[in-house]
């Protein structure tokens, strides 16, 4: 096993912040995707040609969680 280093409080807080950044960003994405997804499925049911457009709109909010991820990586880098 890797040797465990003693961590100072700042590093610990930074790591918690990294987790929170991804977690809350993912929550935002989830809330947004829930509604878009429902609407997209409805549209596709009426017209299968809408699948591509529906998919593009559906995955738009995923950028939010990516932002969270980038911030998390930067925080871990600083920690």
């Amino acid at each position: 096993m890797r040797r465990r280093k003693r961590m100072d409080t700042g590093t610990g807080l930074a790591l918690i912040a990294a987790g929170v950044a991804v977690g809350i960003a993912a929550l935002g994405t989830g809330v947004a995707q829930a509604q878009i997804g429902a609407a997209a499925v409805g549209a596709t049911a009426e017209n299968p040609k809408m699948f591509g457009k529906g998919l593009a709109l559906m995955v738009l909010p995923e950028t939010l969680v990516i932002f969270g991820f980038v911030i998390a990586i930067m925080l871990i880098g600083k920690a």
Partner: protein, 663 residues
């Protein structure tokens, strides 16, 4: 590539007498995309269906009814039927077959409903079979109420203590009690309550005469007879099916084609003595039409061709080399490009496997993807969409395997060699020493991968804007300049990001010393972040041009360019995320299995590992990687240049699968 098939406007004009032959000729060639005639005037009206249309439609209708009653909708004929044979036999065949099948199908339906009726009566009588009470005695009383049904528990003791006078028949069955209760009308509420307490469910008795046991056995005999009849009819239908299914299905196809042709005049302009057919055809094949008309119509019909004009919107037939063609699937999912637009299929052909390959980046999962693609093609080869999807998956899988082999050096989420940062991590070294070392460690070089993703995003977005410039410069120079402004903003943002990254990653270091080396590195510090003067100049110039060309609202989108750029970090995010998921599994199971030394455990464990991984990592990981790879194209890339809304090229033609024309 990049441009759809070039189209030529073709106007076919001829004498009304040659309309029939001309339509025949156009369908045979299958290259003319008809423009529906709509503007009727005094001279030209919409044509009437050819004379044979109504007769043929009627026959077609009868054939389809037959197909339904014979239940041969999905019948695949063994061979093709000659059209001459169809034409010779169809009249007689329809008369005899129609008589046979429709009458038989009708009686089959009647018998089936009769059997159902008798069976439901038997079901209702069954509980009362043991009671020696004729059916007519269950009703018709003035002062007596009758309850028939089943109880969950025996109601007799309760009835005895709470009712004054009653007559009860109970038959204890396996799970319940069949009950027939005759109570005085004034006590019917109390009787109902008692029965309800014992879980009473009423059974409505059918109106019949005689004892239930007798009725049931009579019904059974009737059902037996009916079933014999049904079998006979089924056998008759089966023999018709056996002898005529091929012929019926082939005739249906042939007649459908005949009706299609006969109704074509409804879409074209016809005057008293002439007709005009307006349409588009691929320029490369423009000569064929005149030659065909000359030989078939004996000089009674002519073609006039015109090149596409600026405001025309010809139908779009994508033109790509064979390996690229499966990726047209992704274009079909969104929208057909306009005729004057760039067809981005070839870009998808490069970027989709590259993005997905980077995100999956694993020899094992890549090879599994290739296998999955081949499986889809083999299993669902009949559907063109499935064939395309299969080819796409194979291409993506190959790229993922290459990335897994040479860049990340790992298979099934396990690296070939333990990373330098943690030498005690599990690796394939336990099994074999593979002489390939990773260029990138998924779990340790995250910043490097982020920088690579940003670089990929920058190149992809630049290409998007450049395609946008190509699309717009001919008809709207202002929009083209706006695209240049966006390009400047993007360039400035990227230069700034690279300046901030500095020497932190190999990618940014290389970019700074090569592509961005002519740009001065002078910078000022704003809230602790170095801001490059040069980048600032690029962004400001872009921002100044934008309100002039696209209006002030465009300024709100400037931050969007940064969003777009950062959005590509999902490439790294997915790769790391999937790597982490695989690592979690492997830390748990890998030592148990490969370092145990027990051969049986290794085999069973490897299977278990394969199944769990296959599901969690391969299926979920690859699916989301696929969606993300296509999303980067649809959202970030397409929005820079793609409008879509073109018309698909659908020429007049038909396909014969079960019938064949012989000379």
């Amino acid at each position: 590539m990049l441009r759809p098939e070039e189209m030529t406007r073709a106007v076919v004009v001829g004498s009304i007498d040659s309309l029939d032959v001309t339509i025949e000729c156009l369908y045979e060639l299958g290259i003319l995309h008809l423009i529906d005639f709509t503007e009727q005037d005094e001279e030209f009206k919409l044509g009437q269906p050819l004379g044979r249309a109504s007769g043929t439609s009627q026959k077609l209708l009868k054939l389809r009814a037959m197909i339904r009653s014979l239940e041969i909708e999905s019948h695949k004929p063994a061979g093709r039927v000659d059209v001459k044979e169809i034409q010779a036999k169809i009249e007689q065949a329809i008369v005899t077959l129609d008589m046979n099948t429709s009458a038989k199908a009708e009686s089959r339906q009647k018998i089936q409903s009769l059997i159902r009726e008798k069976e439901s009566e038997i079901k209702a009588l069954e509980p009362f079979r043991m009671f020696i009470i004729p059916m007519e005695d269950y009703e018709g009383y003035d002062s007596i109420s009758v309850f028939t049904g089943v109880c969950k528990t025996d109601p007799e003791p309760a009835l005895r203590s709470r009712l004054h006078d009653y007559e009860l028949e109970v038959n204890a069955r396996k799970t319940d009690f069949a009950v027939a209760l005759f109570a005085r009308s004034e006590e019917r509420f109390e009787a109902g309550r008692i029965l309800a307490e014992h879980g009473f469910q009423e059974i409505k008795l059918p109106r019949l005469n005689g004892y239930p046991a007798e009725i049931i056995s009579k019904h059974r005999v009737v059902i037996d007879d009916l079933e014999k009849d049904l079998k006979r009819i089924e056998a008759d239908l089966e023999s018709i099916r056996k002898h005529f299914a091929d012929f019926i299905v082939a005739s249906e196809e042939h007649l459908a084609i005949e009706v299609l042709k006969a109704e074509t005049p409804l879409r074209i302009a016809v005057s008293a003595n002439s007709f005009v057919i307006d349409g588009w055809m691929p320029t490369a094949r423009a000569g064929e039409l005149q030659t065909a008309l000359d030989s078939l119509c004996c000089g009674l019909a002519f073609v006039e061709t015109l090149p596409a004009e600026k405001h025309d919107e010809p139908p779009v037939k994508l033109k790509n080399p064979k390996p690229v063609r499966p990726f047209e699937f992704f274009i079909d999912l969104v929208s057909t490009p306009k005729y004057n637009e760039i067809d981005p299929t070839v870009v998808l052909f490069i970027t989709f496997p590259l993005f997905l390959g980077f995100m999956v980046g694993d020899l094992g999962f890549g090879a599994s993807l290739v296998a999955l693609g081949i499986f889809i093609r083999a299993k669902f080869g009949g559907s063109p969409d499935a064939r395309k999807l299969g080819a796409i998956i194979v291409a993506a899988g190959l790229m993922a395997s290459l990335f897994g082999l040479f860049v990340f050096a790992e298979a099934f989420g396990v690296p070939f060699h333990p990373p330098e940062e943690s030498l005690d991590e599990h690796s394939w070294e336990a099994v074999a020493d593979i002489p390939i070392h990773p260029m990138l460690e998924k779990m340790h070089d995250v910043t490097e991968m982020l920088a690579l993703s940003l670089l990929a995003g920058w190149l992809h977005l630049m290409l998007g804007y450049i395609l946008g410039i190509v699309n717009t410069y001919r008809h709207n120079i202002k929009h083209a300049i706006a695209k240049v402004a966006w390009l400047l903003v993007l360039f400035g943002l990227f230069a700034e990001v690279m300046l901030v990254a500095g020497d932190a990653t190999l990618t940014s270091e290389t970019i700074n010393s090569t592509i961005l080396s002519p740009i001065p590195t002078a910078s000022l510090e704003i809230v602790g972040i170095a801001v490059s003067y040069a980048a600032l100049v690029f962004i400001v110039v872009g921002v100044v041009i934008l309100p002039v060309t696209e209006g002030p609202l465009a300024l709100t989108e400037v931050a969007g360019v940064l969003t777009n750029l950062v959005s590509y970090t999902r490439l790294a995010a997915l790769a790391v995320g999937k790597g982490g998921m695989a690592m979690a599994f492997n830390t748990m199971f890998f030592p148990l299995i490969f370092e145990s030394g027990n051969i049986l455990l290794i085999i069973v464990g490897a299977l278990f590992l394969f199944i769990t991984q296959a599901f969690f990592v391969f299926f979920i990981g690859s699916l989301s990687a696929g969606i993300q790879a296509i999303r980067l194209n649809y959202v970030e890339f397409f929005l820079k240049f793609f409008e879509g809304g073109g018309t698909d090229f659908s020429p007049l033609k038909y396909e014969r699968k079960h019938s064949v024309v012989t000379k």
